[in-house]
């Protein structure tokens, strides 16, 4: 429980005086009612603050390739959860579940990255006991 809270606090901005990089509400950018699932090749993992970005080349039925950007939480919060840049699948084919940007650009919030062998990197937001 203590460990879980340590991670939760990491994204909470200034908590009890701990300074981490501040950022805006995700609800200002992403639509929770527009889940997206994207399959493609990870072209770049941008390990920067305030959010880690993953770029994905997604090919449509006609073979046209579109590069999507996927936002996540901070690299510090990732590392405090044991997740490093190496876990984000640079060059690999992955499936990403997330939420589309409200401005409908090729931009989404990444919730889960699943690899061809079935393993995954998942941002687990919520409370299992509150599942409906």
């Amino acid at each position: 429980m203590v460990k879980r809270f340590a991670v939760a606090l990491a994204i909470a901005g200034v908590v009890g005086g701990t300074s981490v990089l501040a950022h805006h509400s995700f609800a200002a950018e992403f639509d929770i009612n527009k889940p997206v699932t994207l399959q493609g090749v990870v072209t770049k993992v941008e390990w920067v603050n305030p959010h880690v970005y993953v770029y994905l080349d997604v090919k449509d039925a006609n073979g046209k390739v579109t590069n999507w950007a996927l936002s996540s939480l901070s690299p510090g919060a990732a590392r405090r959860a044991g997740v490093t840049r190496a876990n984000f699948g640079q060059g690999q084919t992955v499936t990403i579940a997330g939420y589309h940007a409200k401005d409908s650009s090729n931009f989404a919030f990444m919730r889960k990255m699943t690899f061809a062998d079935g393993h995954s990197v998942e941002l687990w937001l919520g409370d299992d006991e509150a599942r409906k």
Partner: protein, 263 residues
């Protein structure tokens, strides 16, 4: 040649003095160390499934309340912390407006330094004779704080972290900070300040703990001085807790912000 040798001999006592531990040499408490670091868990191995846990009480992880739940963490934290700066009545409307539009107006959201005192306590302190250096691991920022009795600089531009001078009072390091710009906030709820802000930080060492507070005076806008809630930082004893280089701040989100949702 003889002159050089003599000079070297004369230098020896001075070097020895400089290397003597500060506590003995000058009666100063020792603030050297990494403070308040939580140990990092082992990194996930390649090919290992990993869950990056952010518990949001009462929020269905597959429901539509997830972002609201994230926002509520901060709203609830602030609601539970009654210690807030007290503004003069004529500035309350401005505070509210800045708070309502924080998502687009907060300079720290665009990679600018949070500044003193919002950036909080340093994550590492390096103490040398006549000078203390504060290091901030989350942002790769540093502050040089002379403790040799000199006055504030008269020739520096206003800045995010201000102009600091320090002095020792028993086990307390007192840091007096002036000459701020007004491009920082005291917190997330529209707490602006002027360039006349004056901050006094106090770090008190007791055993392996440092207690940090900052007192903010800004008489043009604050009804009274505001002191942050004391924060206690434990001395890290693990070499693994040494500060890592923080990734740079690169802002990509601004063009995609379409609402004023606030957390």
């Amino acid at each position: 040649m003889r002159k050089v040798l003599l000079a070297a001999l004369v230098m020896v006592p001075a070097v020895a003095t400089a290397q003597t531990p500060l506590r003995q040499a000058q009666g100063e408490a020792d603030f050297n160390g990494v403070w308040g670091a939580a140990p990092l868990p082992p990194a996930a191995k390649a090919g290992q499934s990993v869950r990056w846990l952010l518990p949001l009480k009462g929020v269905d992880p597959e429901g539509t309340d997830v972002f609201k739940g994230l926002d509520r963490i901060q709203v609830n934290n602030r609601a539970a912390a009654p210690n807030k700066p007290d503004y003069k009545p004529e500035f309350l409307a401005k505070v509210k407006e800045l708070s309502d539009k924080q998502g687009v107006l907060d300079p720290a959201f665009y990679c600018k330094p949070q500044g003193v005192p919002r950036m909080g306590a340093p994550s590492q302190i390096v103490q040398t004779p006549g000078q203390v250096v504060f290091l901030y691991g989350a942002s790769n920022l540093f502050r040089m704080i002379p403790t040799d009795g000199r006055p504030h600089r008269a020739d520096a531009d206003p800045s995010y972290m201000g102009d600091a001078i320090g002095r020792f009072e028993g086990n307390t390091l007192v840091v007096d900070v002036t000459n701020f710009n007004d491009d920082t906030c005291l917190g997330s709820d529209g707490y602006f300040h002027t360039e006349k802000m004056h901050v006094v930080e106090r770090l008190t060492r007791s055993g392996d703990t440092v207690t940090y507070t900052a007192t903010v005076e800004d008489p043009d806008v604050l009804a009274k001085p505001w002191t942050t809630t004391p924060r206690q930082l434990k001395l890290s004893t693990s070499k693994a807790d040494a500060l890592l280089e923080a990734p740079p701040c690169v802002e990509h989100d601004a063009p995609h912000i379409v609402t004023l949702d606030h957390h």
